[in-house]
């Protein structure tokens, strides 16, 4: 059955394997929310499917170990979802997972890969429904929710499957070992190599990118033979509930135990993540979220391979530019997109206090700040367009942080609440830009999640780069960006990025933004600084998820 699935999707797998070797542009799943691609009724059908879920228990009644139904899911657009999810007896859930794992571990690489590819294929067909689910839980604008929440997330999942497949295929199933013994008969052994899964894979989702950040770990663990328990963030459950539902459907139809993938929902009042993570049956943890909890997992879940994506202080160093307007526009968009709630959003913008050279003339520090402010004002000038870019703010904590930051510092651009034309109770706030001096490290060396950025006056670009590299090394960073017309400075920026272990983008003034990370091409998070220990996706992300156990027998003479 599932070898058929493998054959059905073999072309897309082969293409993905090529893509991760080339790392040029490729995508298996179209990011264009168009009826021409997804079917003329796809948009309406997806919306209807989403709406049909509202106000009811989510259709996962077939999951075992359910002791109650509940939810503390929130919608930053201010409407009520009213969906409840199964709440589980943890021990019973783990027992069901282990039982399923006993079957799943015996499948072949092709069987498992085929199932993963079919799950991704079906998720893609539900992209509009997923887009609404992501939008109405995370607060992303619709287009972003569609792209990042559906096809781009699916691409990250496929990328993980391709890495897992390639790494597993490096281990032959059999070997004939024949050692010469001079004139005597050779020693001969038949060897069999079995891939043994590591244990149950626990995937801990985040509230802002529930699918994009979870699919890598989910599919890498599943493809390598591990059963998976998906623990969504209690405030953003729906996108992962749909994902688990699709996975279980595919597993069941292909003849496997659907409990190979299970949802472990919880509520904000009764969190279960620590208890789950500390269960010895958990062999792998994939986590996206706060540094505090990620550090706790790394320190305490010693029985498991722990992959984390935590937080950092992303930076831009501005040295010089020959396109001040393009630079300002590009930065303004990066700061505004989804209200700075991306782990890739820049926070600290280092600028020489003496100003820079832009378009051939000297431009003062305050003028550079002013250019970004003006570009932001312009980008957000039309409220209808503004809410599409900004989305809504997921957490009340973020709004509180924004308000207290606004009260505390030198404000270059104040944040303002914005009304949403369609959702009157939506939490929409424009970006806050602060000014500070490089010596005030307390102001900028911790993450200020949300639409808060700092324009930091330094003693010059060398000072900027030293501080930027040090901040990445010591406090973590997922993205870095530099603007300079001077090749020597660009080289120094590269050295600073290597030193800080952070991905660098240079002179982005057009339609590419530092926030964006493309599957198959960009390594998301380096694992080389405190912002996380794992990268989407490299070999290290998959190799620890299985082990090789061998059997040797004397070969027939």
């Amino acid at each position: 059955m599932s070898v058929t699935l493998f054959e059905r999707h073999r072309d897309v797998l082969d293409r993905a394997v090529t893509a991760i070797r080339d790392r040029g542009y490729w995508s298996a799943f179209s990011e264009i929310p168009s009826g021409k691609i997804y079917g003329e009724t796809a948009a309406a059908d997806g919306l209807a499917s989403f709406q049909a879920l509202l106000g009811k228990p989510f259709p996962l009644a077939d999951q075992p170990a359910t002791i109650d139904w509940g939810s503390s899911e929130t919608n930053p657009y201010g409407t009520t979802l009213g969906i409840t999810y199964p709440l589980s007896d943890i021990s019973a859930l783990i027992s069901a997972s282990r039982l399923a794992a006993n079957g799943w571990r015996k499948t072949t690489v092709e069987e498992r890969t085929g199932v993963c590819l079919e799950i991704l294929h079906r998720l893609n067909a539900r992209s509009f429904e997923l887009a609404h689910a992501v939008m109405q839980t995370t607060g992303q604008g619709f287009v972003m929710a569609f792209q990042a929440g559906a096809p781009h997330a699916q691409d990250r999942g496929l990328e993980a499957v391709a890495y897992a497949y390639e790494e597993m295929m490096r281990v032959p199933q059999h070997a004939a070992w024949e050692k010469p013994q001079g004139k005597a008969d050779p020693l001969k052994l038949d060897k069999t190599f079995r891939l043994v899964p590591r244990g149950i894979g626990l995937v801990i989702g985040c509230s802002t990118f529930p699918t994009w950040n979870s699919y890598g770990g989910l599919f890498a663990s599943l493809a390598t033979g591990n059963a998976v328990i998906v623990k969504p963030h209690p405030a953003s459950v729906l996108p992962l509930a749909i994902t688990v539902q699709v996975a279980r459907d595919v597993l069941r139809e292909a003849g496997y135990d659907p409990n190979t993938v299970l949802l472990a929902a919880d509520t904000a009042d009764q969190p279960i993540t620590k208890e789950l993570a500390m269960r010895p049956e958990i062999g792998i943890i994939d986590y996206t979220g706060s540094s505090a909890f990620g550090d706790w997992l790394e320190a305490n879940a010693r029985h498991a391979v722990v992959h984390t994506e935590k937080a950092g202080v992303n930076w831009i160093v501005i040295d010089s530019t020959d396109d001040l307007k393009g630079m300002a526009r590009n930065i303004a968009f990066s700061l505004s997109l989804y209200s700075g709630q991306m782990c890739t959003t820049p926070q600290n913008i280092f600028i020489p206090a003496d100003g820079i050279t832009a378009d051939g003339t000297h431009v003062a520090f305050d003028q550079v700040v002013g250019a970004v402010k003006t570009a932001t004002d312009k980008l957000l000038g039309d409220p209808e367009r503004a809410v599409e870019v900004l989305g809504a703010i997921k957490s009340e904590d973020t709004v509180a942080r924004l308000e207290s930051a606004q009260a505390s510092g030198a404000v270059a651009r104040p944040s303002a609440a914005l009304g949403h034309p369609k959702f009157p109770d939506a939490r929409v706030h424009t970006p806050l830009i602060l000014k500070t001096d490089a010596t005030d490290e307390a102001a900028y060396l911790t993450e200020r999640f949300g639409p808060i950025s700092l324009m930091i006056a330094t003693n010059g670009t060398a000072d900027s780069l030293t501080r930027a590299a040090g901040s990445a090394r010591d406090h973590g960073a997922i993205t870095a960006s530099v603007y300079s017309t001077d090749p020597v400075v660009l080289e120094a920026a590269e050295a600073a990025a290597m030193d800080g272990g952070v991905a660098l983008s240079c002179n982005l003034t057009g339609g590419v933004f530092v926030n964006q990370s493309a599957a198959y091409s960009d390594f998301h998070v380096s694992g080389a600084n405190p912002a996380g220990n794992a990268s989407l996706t490299d070999g290290a992300f998959v190799t620890g998820r299985f082990r090789v156990v061998q059997v040797r027998r004397p070969a027939a003479a």
Copy 2:
């Protein structure tokens, strides 16, 4: 310079890369200590080189940070080596390593690989010298010291280089990323991917296999761009001192900082391993040794990727055989080889209390035990041959353990001290075989390092397999072995081995022994049970040693 080295050794690298994919028999370095292969004067030259080292400071005067010279090296053959080694100021040693690392991280994959291959080539040329060094520190017999200490260790090093090379080559250096934008111009980025080392690699050697167990980690870290500090066991320094000397010579001659590889010797009185391991500059640790210290490293060295090979309770399950004598001979050799001081030596031999079927007839439990005893007596009947098989016992603790075990239990075969014809003060003891009941778990569920094995009476083969699998899962095991003529039992034994995450050998009655692990073919340690978290060598052994940091720039239009 070192691209030349890469080209010079490219054939052997290509062959090694093929070997790790096929996992059939192959070796780059001949295990035959013959003049025809190593040169007619190699044996005499090697002995002379070894003897020239005795009674002097080891020639590593060029190492920085030396504050004293000393040694607590011991020779189980009872003669005095009298070699002293540089003792270092740890902070100064790490500073020198970091400085060297700054240069080493900038080398290309080909440069680093070429240097590694040249080091291995030169180590091979010094195989006779290394054999004497290994023999006179570990207590191994000469042939074993030559094979395991020189060519087989070099093969393990080359295997690690091949894995590292292949994994690094999976990441392209550059990519042209071009994303279509409908009718508009495509978005274009030039991307560069840089491999960034993880930090200083610390290699912690053991006293019994200082080279074989260290070369994997040493060469994997070095090939992936990390500087390496080698911390030998204080009782067995010489083989790794020679190794470091060779590495430094090659680095210097190829134009690199020789401090890219440093020796950090210590003495039993003033151990430095904990202090070294806890330094934040250490990014990778490769450790072989006791479970207690390995567990400590895994729990405490959280800043580093920690690879461990610790201890376990290896098992044999005897169900039935059609070659009782062959089986007994094979087991007797496995128990006797290097006096059971191999991490692969069997300890627990599970046999049905009711006896087994052998050669078509019923054979009682005591007769099975008797057959192994008789085969052991016969193997060791000639003292000159016996000492070659047994070697000498490295640690006085092992002798004490042996004596106390002899006094405590039901002895099936007593251990006896044996005189060595060439080394009158050598510590030679024959194997002790105990009998016990399966319910006496305290007797056999901890490792009894050295020539101590237990014949364990069970309720039948099903009981044997359950206990064996459980012991591996809970207490670790590196090897497992089964004897049965019944395909159903063999299948159950495979399931038990998978369950316990331990490599299984079936029906070994000839010239292959469960203790042996061949580079390029056998995965040594599975990483799937408490006996260790790393495997020699799989993808997971190398992928965590480097990270990818990328740079993106808009492509020229």
